[in-house]
């Protein structure tokens, strides 16, 4: 028997019972398509969370004030509330941590802001010229705060697009207009590009002012709330984090790292945590889909066993006219594999469609990976072989005399 002959026999056998073959194939279609759809949705979720973390900047280390505690005292203010970081700390980091690519200290607070009768309450960030590079902020119109503004305590402001829309009309030209923060007039010199609302609070609803101006006119002191440090590459992040910790500990005269009055947050850690969560999620979805795939495989085995019983006399006849054990085995195994391969093809198409629809309706940016297709196809072929093997062997082992007598 040539492979073509076997395929022809298989086609005839499967076409002889279209409803049953169709339902069996459906089981595999559901299994394969759910594996592909679930894995692509899981990977889409992973990608979107990572993108959202990356949008606050890349290779970022955030230094924030911690709770201030003295030895022996168990009273501490809340994390981040302490005012332990000062401008000089940021300057020291710039000077001593040479691996750092850029350092942007900032002071932030929420204020009521008014402009031409409209007003809003949003966060005002006092920062330096390094901020846009470090935190992935792009300028849409005008310019960002420059070093010169800091030196001269300029009362200038850069608005986020949402704030601009709140204070002026949507899309209005706000450059050169005046806004009031704590009754102090600031001149708008730039608008940032929209980044979209991301998981870590909208960065579009913000006002940026020079750090020195914010300290002098708004906060009234020289503390900073965050120092963003950007590393050259992901590999140097751990070293930089360590250097910053050592530097600040010695500057703050703290010998026990446990009592540090600041904390450093490595962006890689956030990404790793988020990745591990989404990976667990993907595995969970995949496992559920995998179960339906196994159920589909059992469906194939069930159908093949029924077929072997139903076609006992046919098998006897084929054997009587010269079919060998191998011929019968091959024929029934091919039928099982054919069922799973057809199911696999339709399953891939359906899974792809589902994942495309998820993307199309904007639920999640999904991506069907080649590896999940190969995996699904391999699994479906394996299921055909595994679950087809036993029925085929049973068919091949039938004694022709008994098979012909079978009622």
């Amino acid at each position: 028997m040539t492979p073509l002959d076997i395929l022809r026999e298989t086609y005839i056998a499967l076409a002889a019972n279209k409803a049953r073959s169709g339902l069996t194939i459906l089981g595999i279609v559901i299994g394969i398509s759910s594996v592909i759809a679930m894995v692509s949705i899981g990977q889409g979720a992973q990608g979107s969370i990572q993108a959202s973390i990356q949008s606050i900047g890349s290779n970022l280390i955030l230094v924030t004030p911690g709770a201030q505690r003295g030895p022996g005292f168990q009273i501490s203010a809340g994390r981040g509330s302490a005012r332990t970081l000062v401008q000089a700390d940021a300057d020291a980091i710039i000077k001593d941590v040479t691996l750092a690519k850029a350092v942007a200290p900032e002071i932030s607070g929420r204020y009521q802001i008014t402009a031409k009768g409209k007003n809003t309450n949003t966060s005002v960030v006092g920062t330096t010229a390094a901020y846009p590079g470090v935190r992935n902020v792009e300028i849409d119109q005008g310019s960002f705060i420059a070093d010169q503004h800091i030196r001269s305590l300029s009362k200038v402001a850069v608005l986020g697009p949402t704030t601009r829309n709140d204070l002026f009309d949507e899309g209005a030209d706000a450059i050169g207009q005046t806004i009031r923060i704590r009754s102090i007039e600031f001149k708008v010199i730039g608008i940032t590009k929209a980044k979209g609302g991301t998981g870590f609070g909208s960065q579009d609803d913000m006002v940026f002012v020079p750090l020195s101006s914010a300290q002098r006119f708004l906060a009234g002191d020289t503390y900073v709330t965050t120092i963003s440090v950007q590393a050259e590459n992901p590999e140097s992040m751990t070293i930089i984090q360590q250097q910053i910790t050592d530097l600040l500990l010695s500057r703050h005269h703290i010998s026990d790292p446990q009592l540090a009055d600041f904390s450093t947050l490595n962006q890689a850690d956030i990404v790793a945590t988020a990745s591990s969560i989404t990976q667990t999620f993907t595995i969970l979805l995949g496992a559920v889909a995998g179960i339906s795939l196994v159920v589909g495989g059992i469906g194939i085995m069930n159908m093949m066993l029924t077929t072997v019983t139903e076609r006992t006399r046919e098998i006897g006849l084929r054997k009587a006219i010269g079919a060998k054990r191998r011929d019968i085995n091959r024929q029934f195994l091919t039928e099982a594999i054919m069922l799973t391969l057809i199911g696999g093809l339709f399953g891939i198409a359906l899974g792809w469609t589902i994942s495309y629809l998820v993307t199309y309706f904007g639920l999640l940016q999904t991506a069907v990976s080649l590896y999940s297709i190969f995996l699904a196809f391999g699994v479906s072929a394996a299921i055909g072989i595994i679950f087809g093997y036993y029925p085929a062997r049973r068919a091949a082992a039938l004694n022709p005399i008994e098979a012909l007598r079978y009622e």
Binding site: L4, E314, I321
Partner: protein, 235 residues
């Protein structure tokens, strides 16, 4: 040529041994038309299985065209069946929902004959049994009982076997259709010189052969030429 020498067959079911054949010997020459007769339980079906290489004897030798078939493995037996024997069964002779032509060509599939040649040889075999060409592409379940047996005979012929074995081929047919089928066998025997062995329990059917072997209780009790051979009036 078929040579059976002292063939026995013992079935062991549990503790009791059952001797279906207890030493049967005979020779059937090429071109003979022989009927094997006997009541049910006589061992004629067991004999047919051995002659058809579906089974092997417990002892004794069975030579088919000079080749000893009595000690072969399953796959070697399958080869013998494929090359030398054509079967016609009583019922369920054809694959359901399959065309006449495909049914007829089925043995050639396992013999490794190419598709085009399979079709040609199946057509020749079908014509030899006298089936009308318009039926060649009909499905097997659209045929009458007589037509089904003719297709079965054509299938038995298609691989040019040394021996055609028919197991109660008229058992499910009315007498008129049975005559047509028996007539087909006689025609093939006479015109093509085919060796035919017909297994039956009916005298009436057996008398269409030229020689009758009578089996009873696992022994050959008589081996006679048919005195008044019936010639079927085939249409």
């Amino acid at each position: 040529m078929i040579e059976a020498q002292n063939i026995t067959k013992t079935y062991t079911t549990g503790v009791v041994d059952f001797q279906a054949l207890r030493g049967v010997s005979f020779i059937i020459n090429d071109g003979e038309f022989v009927a094997i007769m006997g009541p049910s339980g006589s061992g004629k079906s067991t004999l047919m299985h051995i002659l058809g290489a579906l089974d092997t004897p417990t002892s004794g030798t069975y030579l088919l065209d000079g080749k000893d078939v009595s000690q072969l493995t399953d796959d070697e037996l399958a080869d013998i069946r494929k090359d030398k024997i054509g079967f016609v069964f009583q019922a369920f002779s054809l694959l359901p929902r399959t065309t006449v032509l495909r049914n007829t060509a089925l043995p050639l599939l396992y013999a490794g004959v190419k598709n085009g040649e399979r079709q040609e040889r199946a057509k020749i075999a079908l014509k030899a049994t006298g089936l009308e060409e318009e039926n060649f592409y009909h499905l097997s379940n659209q045929l009458s009982g007589g037509q089904i047996q003719r297709v079965a005979i054509a299938r038995a012929l298609v691989n040019n076997p040394s021996l055609i074995l028919a197991d109660e081929p008229t058992g499910n047919l009315d007498s008129k259709t049975g005559e047509i089928v028996l007539g087909t066998f006689q025609k093939l025997n006479k015109e093509q010189g085919r060796t035919i062995i017909l297994i039956t329990h009916e005298h009436d059917v057996a008398e269409h052969a030229e020689r009758i072997l009578f089996i009873k209780d696992g022994l050959l009790v008589s081996d006679t030429k048919t005195h008044t051979r019936k010639i079927a009036r085939h249409i």
